[in-house]
């Protein structure tokens, strides 16, 4: 681990697969001990932990539903006991429940807002002061291009991601003076389980003519988590192959 970083660890929510798994591996490569959070996919999380440990890194499985306030609190206590303050948080856990607005049921609205926005808020609230005290912190929120550009059928998802970007910016200006940066990464179309139902002809609309990969998103997160990104805060890094250019 770099000498400029205080001792601590990283937490990646939804780290058992997709973008989260790629992020966990990338942070571990950069020397961070990584707590790999999952809600139910313990096997997936354990697989990521095993890969990190096989590469000489340190990792643990941290099971918690980000919507469960008590579970989030417990998770932080467990991770802090394991490797000290959580200095990097990647709010990646997210869900979709697509429908056009007249068809979105209350439950489909709340579940998406709760997982994608309330969860990251609670995690940010818990994470921020230890980072402030350590005079180092990195909060990276995985948002989406649909938070800024409309995509019919995703009003709930879009609202949650737009909210996440606003949470990101506001938190950033509150804590910037303490060496804590808060940024969002907005992927376009990335091939993961979350997008397994997306029409493959979607690629024709993308200037890069292909979906992104979890590794390409993880590389951006890795950079934002690094000491080199210390003057980047309150911004959103769009990673979409030119889709919204």
């Amino acid at each position: 681990m770099s000498d400029t970083r205080p001792d601590g660890c990283a937490l990646v929510t939804g780290g058992s697969r997709g973008i989260g798994a790629a992020v966990a591996l990338a942070l571990a490569e950069d020397g961070w001990p990584v707590a790999v959070n999952c809600r139910v996919d313990r096997e997936g999380a354990e697989g990521i932990v095993a890969k990190i440990e096989a590469g000489g890194g340190a990792a643990m499985v941290a099971v918690a539903d980000v919507v469960d306030a008590q579970a989030v609190e417990q998770m932080f206590d467990d991770v802090e006991r394991w490797r000290g303050p959580v200095l990097v948080v990647v709010n990646n856990a997210g869900v979709r429940a697509d429908a056009i607005v007249p068809e979105i049921a209350d439950a489909a609205w709340s579940s998406v807002i709760d997982t994608n926005l309330l969860g990251p808020f609670r995690i940010t609230r818990r994470a921020v002061m230890p980072m402030v005290r350590a005079r180092f912190g990195r909060i990276i929120n995985i948002a989406s291009v649909v938070g800024e550009r409309a995509n019919a059928g995703q009003a709930n998802y879009a609202a949650s991601k737009a909210g996440l970007m606003a949470l990101s910016r506001t938190t950033a200006v509150e804590v910037a003076r303490r060496g804590v940066t808060v940024n969002a990464v907005a992927p376009g179309y990335v091939q993961t389980e979350l997008t397994s139902d997306v029409d493959p002809t979607m690629s024709r609309a993308i200037p890069a003519r292909r979906p992104g990969t979890p590794h390409e998103i993880a590389a951006c997160v890795r950079f934002l988590a690094s000491s080199e990104a210390s003057y980047i805060t309150g911004t959103t890094l769009v990673v979409d192959g030119g889709l919204t250019a």
Partner: protein
């Protein structure tokens, strides 16, 4: 100096030192100094509350400092709770 005066002075010293660690100019820190003028914001006050809790075991949050305008106001709020 009485014990009370010593304890009060110790608390004042802790607050002054903490504000300095937050970036306030040491020459400008006094009981009469305005927190805003010292560029002390809400986050600083939350952190001050945590430092006080670590020292005295009494929990203070940003809300406790809502009405404070000067360094002296902050010291008085803390003193009322911990001394």
């Amino acid at each position: 100096m009485t014990q009370t005066q010593q304890t009060q002075e110790k608390l004042e010293r802790l607050v002054f030192d903490t504000l300095e660690s937050f970036g306030a100019e040491p020459a400008e820190i006094s009981r009469e100094a305005g927190l805003k003028e010292l560029d002390i914001d809400s986050l600083d006050m939350v952190e001050l509350g945590q430092i006080i809790e670590e020292e005295y075991g009494v929990r203070l949050t940003g809300a406790d400092f809502k009405e404070t305008r000067t360094v002296g106001d902050a010291i008085d709020v803390i003193a009322a709770r911990v001394l």
